[in-house]
């Protein structure tokens, strides 16, 4: 089983991003995803900067994949998507069906990202025919759902034609909206947001009136309040999952990658998850719950 570093979901200054990816090159990640997936107004790195950064990282021992935006509302955003798809070198993580359309037209191999509604083997078969090489399962699905889907894929004779990746650690992207919730939290309209999300490098924690952390606001994206952690489930992924994805919040991603590597290679004793961690989706219960 391999490890991937998911695309950075927050808005960080350019230098921080570049330093982060330099470090990623020496990390335990086999695959590095990068690109802006949340908001096209974030311009610390412009689309061409992301492409050059990705190309610079490529060929240094890691697989590098360009990730595309999940919610494409304006023609200008589709233009950027085209730019990514025509990069001529790297494969692309499609996070909208529109990206699959463009990538299959260009015959560029692609990863079906977690923001695409792919819930069964028939859809996977169609995507394989269009050039899908890897499927990142929608975050809300369980091991049980995956096992059944894989068995259907075997019946259809397509299981060997793509890899399976599971979002395994990090704050889970749960929803995308037209509204920017970070701007709203500062009483700003999206059009006058002043890119205020750069002030919140790990998003804005949101709690109930009983102090339970339920969401993290990250621009137009709403994330889980708890950090997803499938460290204790690595053994149940073996033979079923090809890549475990670590979604970075900060430098700690690199030590988490190390810990996951150890769990994969030698196995580790079960770890008690912290109070703000969860693993529910994998266990077919509410996402924010924890099961051992």
């Amino acid at each position: 089983m391999k490890l991937s570093l998911g695309p950075l979901l927050y808005y960080w200054p350019k230098q921080t991003v570049e330093a982060f990816y330099q470090q990623a090159l020496t990390s335990e990640a086999d695959t590095i995803y990068l690109g802006e997936t949340v908001c096209s107004k974030r311009r610390e790195l412009k689309p061409r900067d992301w492409i050059s950064l990705a190309k610079a990282l490529n060929g240094q021992g890691k697989e590098v994949v360009l990730s595309s935006m999940a919610l494409l509302e304006a023609p200008s955003e589709v233009k950027v998507l085209k730019q990514l798809c025509e990069n001529g070198e790297l494969s692309v993580e499609a996070n909208d069906v529109g990206a699959i359309q463009l990538l299959s037209e260009q015959k560029v191999p692609f990863v079906c990202g977690p923001a695409i509604n792919c819930y069964n083997a028939s859809v996977l078969k169609m995507f394989v025919n269009k050039g899908m090489q890897r499927w990142v399962m929608p975050v809300e699905l369980s091991r049980d759902w995956l096992t059944k889907t894989v068995s259907d894929c075997e019946d259809l004779g397509i299981r060997s034609q793509f890899e399976i990746e599971v979002f395994s650690h990090g704050f889970i992207p749960l929803a995308y909206s037209a509204r920017c919730f970070t701007a709203r939290s500062e009483n700003k309209a999206k059009d006058d947001c002043e890119l205020c999300c750069i002030k919140y490098p790990q998003g804005r924690a949101t709690t109930t009136q009983e102090e339970q952390q339920v969401f993290v606001l990250n621009g137009i994206q709403t994330q889980s309040g708890y950090c997803y952690n499938l460290i204790n489930d690595i053994s149940s992924m073996k033979g079923l999952v090809d890549l475990a994805r670590i979604s970075p919040s900060d430098q700690q991603a690199f030590s988490i990658l190390k810990q996951y590597r150890e769990a994969i290679n030698v196995g580790i004793e079960p770890i008690k998850l912290e109070s703000k961690e969860c693993n529910g989706f994998w266990h077919k219960i509410a996402g924010l719950e924890t099961q051992y």
Binding site: L72, V97, G98, A175, R179, S185, T208, Q209, G287
Partner: protein, 331 residues
Amino acid sequence: MELLCPAGSLPALKTAIDYGADAVYIGLKDDTNARHFAGLNFNDKKLTKGAQYVHDHNKHLHVAINTFAHPGGEKRWQNAVDKCVDLGANAAIIADIATLEYAANKHPNLDLHLSVQASATNTATIDFYKQNFNVKRVVLPRVLSIHQVKQLSRNTDMPLEVFAFGSLCIMAEGRCYLSSYFTGESPNTVGACSPAKYVRWTETKNGLESRLNDILIDRYQKNEKAGYPTLCKGKFNVDNNLYHALEEPTSLNTLSMVPDLMKANICSVKIEGRQRSPAYVEQITKVWRQAIDSYKANPDQYQVKEEWDRVLANVSEGSQTTLGAYHREWQ
């Protein structure tokens, strides 16, 4: 511009037709549609009666098959499509690619509408569904501004349907897992958001509390009107500031945009609310029929009547309405 009204039951269907709907949309009594609630939707007998009623009045029937086929359960979604054809429905509203593929291959004459749950917001996505499944209409998610709707309409020859009124979903539909994060069940997997079986109301010394799977959504004082605890419409804290962090309990109301929608060539306005009563369906259908007719009779003089707004506010969540994402300010 077609007026498309919701029908969660046979009485609601008849009401919609009687009060001026051009078309109604319904769902089967199972998890193949995104309003899979107890006591709602159509069993076989009711389906036949409903379809008959719609056709007798020369109106159109759309059947929503807008959840995603479970592995091993694809047959259920395929049966729903077959049923749709047997009924003589005018269109199937489908979200799942597997179900679209089945419908396009097995029933090439059935009109396929791309459900809002498929989350198509741009021309590239629309091209995908058109080229692969010959989709005849796309229902747009409630995330586009009116400017973006107009732009999209100019850039595609695909007929577009938009949501015009009803409970406001503020996330890109079909790509929201908040409900399964809280409860384990989502619109995509079980056909319901914030399912009623997880809702609990408790009178406490702090006020009336609404919970979803034990998570506190909101707390109401005596003078406050309590609403259904849809989780994105709760009151939460961000840095000690307590407010509706995602959205207020409010309904979408686009009566004032009828001229814009007409000029943008929108082929159909959809009213949300299959879970609502026939009385709701009567009120909204009447008002929207009048609004569309009044625009058609005299486009330059079109104005929203106070009476219309009053009627719609009465059937809205929290008695409030908004233009939602259509209006940039809201975003």
